[in-house]
């Protein structure tokens, strides 16, 4: 079987369903509810974009799916259903078979995720050997194939390179090759291009899109960049202070954003080459997870807030077909 062969997965069937996930961090000052009741679904061949600012819980959500949250963080409740099975009920041993083989992850900073003392080829080979019984020659062939798949220039030579000998873009290609070497069904990409220059970012995002289409993977694309979401995601979930505040198809959310936070984020980005002298700036900062306001967490910064917003903790409700928002004002 080759890496580029499409998989027979039913695109209508949910591959990964996160249900009411709560991940908390117990600190000296109290409990920070970093992920506070998050639910979403990934389907084969589709990309869900998870967008939000730093501290909103998007990376903790990703780590929770792979059960890689380290103490003082802890998954408190919820379910992570992969092909119908709850990953939270698996033994650590079974979980190791899921990581990399079924669900793989690409991190933001390739330099800290790659081991500096091993060659790219041996690190990808290790990932392959962990999940598949392959001989030395077959492993090597698989490594080169994975590097070729991510359009690494001179794959045979690059397999023998150490991470520091590669440019940032090539390192990220190596990371993606490692993630894809075992043909995962789900790829989680956490800010995969944030450390890269914009022209290299465009290369890597196009690569990820092509691979997702060819391999039929489901993808969770985590980013702070609304432009990346608009171009590369099918659906989008907007996160704020540990919650999803808006969820829908990319077309619906960008053309008819409902939640005041989503609207504010879009206005803060502005238009490239636009003539606005001053940007629409949201006042204040993201609240501390230890000191969340009562009611709606966004109300302190919200231009539409009314007294009622301090009393009601809004839940995600369907405001239009397939388009939900957590706001009592829309």
């Amino acid at each position: 079987m080759t890496l580029a062969a499409p998989r027979a997965l039913d695109p209508a069937m949910p591959l990964l369903a996160v249900r009411e996930l709560h991940t908390h961090f117990e600190t000296a000052e109290g409990v920070a509810r970093a992920v506070d009741g998050v639910s979403f679904t990934l389907r084969p061949g589709r990309t869900l974009g998870l967008v939000g600012e730093s501290g909103c819980g998007k990376s903790v959500t990703a780590l929770s799916i792979l059960r890689l949250v380290s103490p003082p963080g802890r998954i408190v409740s919820g379910a992570i259903l992969y092909k119908g099975q709850d990953l939270l009920g698996l033994s650590e041993r079974s979980m190791r078979h899921v990581r990399g083989k079924e669900i793989a992850m690409v991190f933001q900073e390739p330099m800290t995720s790659l081991n500096p003392v091993f060659t790219i080829g041996s690190q990808i080979g290790e990932a392959v050997r962990l999940h598949q019984r392959l001989g030395r020659a077959a492993t090597r062939a698989r490594v080169i194939e994975a590097l070729r798949l991510v359009e690494m220039p001179e794959p045979e030579r690059r397999a023998r390179s150490y991470p520091h000998e590669l440019s940032g873009g090539m390192r990220q290609r190596a990371m993606i090759a490692m993630a894809l070497a075992c043909e995962p069904n789900v790829l989680i990409a956490d800010e995969p291009t944030t450390a890269l220059d914009v022209t290299i970012q465009a290369q890597i995002l196009e690569l990820l899109r092509g691979l997702r289409e060819r391999l039929g993977m489901a993808m969770l694309l985590i980013t702070h960049d609304l432009g990346i979401i608009a171009e590369h995601a099918d659906d989008v979930a907007v996160m704020y202070a540990g919650r999803i505040v808006e969820y829908g198809s990319v077309l619906d959310v960008f053309e008819r954003p409902l939640h005041p936070y989503t609207i504010a984020l879009m206005e803060a980005v502005g238009r490239l080459g636009g003539d606005e002298r001053y940007l629409e700036a949201l006042p204040g900062t993201v609240p501390s997870l230890l000191r969340l306001p009562s009611g709606c967490r966004f109300r302190d910064r919200c231009p539409c807030a009314i007294d009622e917003c301090a009393k009601v903790d809004p839940v995600l409700e369907e405001k239009a077909p397939g388009h939900t928002a957590a706001c009592i004002r829309v």
């Binding site: 220059d197 290299i200 290369q203 490239l272 636009g274 900062t285």
Partner: protein, 349 residues
């Protein structure tokens, strides 16, 4: 003896001793043929084996009250350029003049005096503030070094600066770790403003901040410019941010300016293939628009052995023979639009 050294010392350009005042719109900072080369290899007492051409001959002008944006990817030399202009790094060759005075010829007391006119705001608001100093002391440091005010007058001046950047005088006795990234960047801006500069190099000032906070800081820089007629050299890798703050924009590639124009002209009529690739690579927050993307192959080449001729030629989709051979000069055409390209020259005057 009064606590105040000069009643007019702060915020007023006229009291500065080194460079004379410059009317609005007139050239304030002029850079000609600036180069910065670093020897590499060799090590201790060894002979350098190669040279990094970080800045490879840059000419630019910043006018009073205007923002010149410098965009480029990592390794383009944009930060080194900013540091050379302020002489935080000594340039290898070229000239820098401020209000007609030769900055590179200054030393000692004159150089220190010049630094009142030229300040910098750094990228990382976490690394650029001393964690052991209180906010008030951080902002007051420049006032003390330049002997601008003492005691109660100094404290009043710092309060005024904190308010100017949207902080409160109550923050005076706090430490940097008590502040968010956006607030720290406001402290960095207050520190730069404390000595009453006319020119500020802002080196990626919002790159470490979330988008909602970026907009706050960009608006603050804008407002301060409007109020105090500040000139900015605004360095960023983010074309969207540069578009918002700049009057004119220069695009750098491998230590050189490859294109420069007023902001609207540059974003509407980019000429250089690198500028066009850069602009087309920016993700557009509109799902219906699939941008016509110019795909650049490969990475930025090493500034150690830059390619011959036009340094962009190995990645350029429009490369011709002469591009491999001849270095294209930066030539200005109509609409103040200057381009360094054989194939797509500046629009004719």
């Amino acid at each position: 003896m009064s606590d105040v050294v000069s009643p007019n010392a702060l915020g007023s350009a006229a009291s500065h001793v080194v460079a004379p005042p410059v009317p609005a719109g007139a050239p304030l900072v002029e850079v000609r043929g600036l180069r910065k080369e670093y020897p590499i290899g060799g090590g201790f007492l060894g002979r350098a084996r190669a040279t990094v051409h970080a800045v490879a001959g840059v000419d630019l002008t910043v006018r009073t009250g205007e923002t010149l944006g410098i965009v480029g990817e990592s390794g383009s030399g944009k930060s080194t350029l900013g540091r050379c202009i302020l002489r935080l790094t000594e340039p290898t060759a070229g000239s820098v003049s401020f209000g007609g005075r030769d900055v590179l010829a200054l030393s000692g007391r004159d150089l220190r005096a010049m630094r009142r006119d030229m300040q910098i705001v750094f990228q990382d608001p976490y690394a650029s503030l001393n964690p052991r100093m209180r906010i008030g002391a951080i902002v007051a440091e420049g006032i003390e070094i330049h002997g601008l005010a003492r005691g109660a007058a100094k404290r009043a001046r710092v309060h005024e600066l904190l308010e100017k950047v949207g902080l409160s005088p109550e923050h005076y006795d706090r430490y940097p770790h008590e502040f968010s990234g956006g607030q720290r960047q406001r402290v960095g801006i207050a520190r730069a403003l404390a000595v009453g500069p006319r020119f500020i190099v802002a080196d990626e000032p919002v790159s470490a901040l979330d988008v909602s906070i970026q907009a706050q800081v960009l608006n603050l820089l804008r407002r301060l410019q409007d109020e105090m007629r500040l000139a900015y050299l605004f360095i960023s890798h983010d074309l969207r941010v540069v578009a918002h703050v700049s009057h004119r924009v220069a695009v750098m590639y491998l230590g050189k300016i490859v294109e420069q124009a007023p902001v609207a002209e540059l974003y509407r009529n980019p000429r250089h293939p690198y500028t066009r690739a850069l602009l087309s690579a920016v993700p557009v927050p509109d799902p219906r628009r699939r941008p016509d993307r110019i795909r650049l192959g490969g990475d930025v080449p090493s500034p150690v052995n830059p390619p011959t001729g036009c340094t962009f030629h190995p990645r350029c989709p429009y490369v011709e023979d002469r591009c491999r051979r001849d270095v294209p000069p930066l030539i200005e055409g109509a609409d103040e639009h200057a381009v360094a390209c054989h194939v797509f020259p500046a629009p004719p005057r």
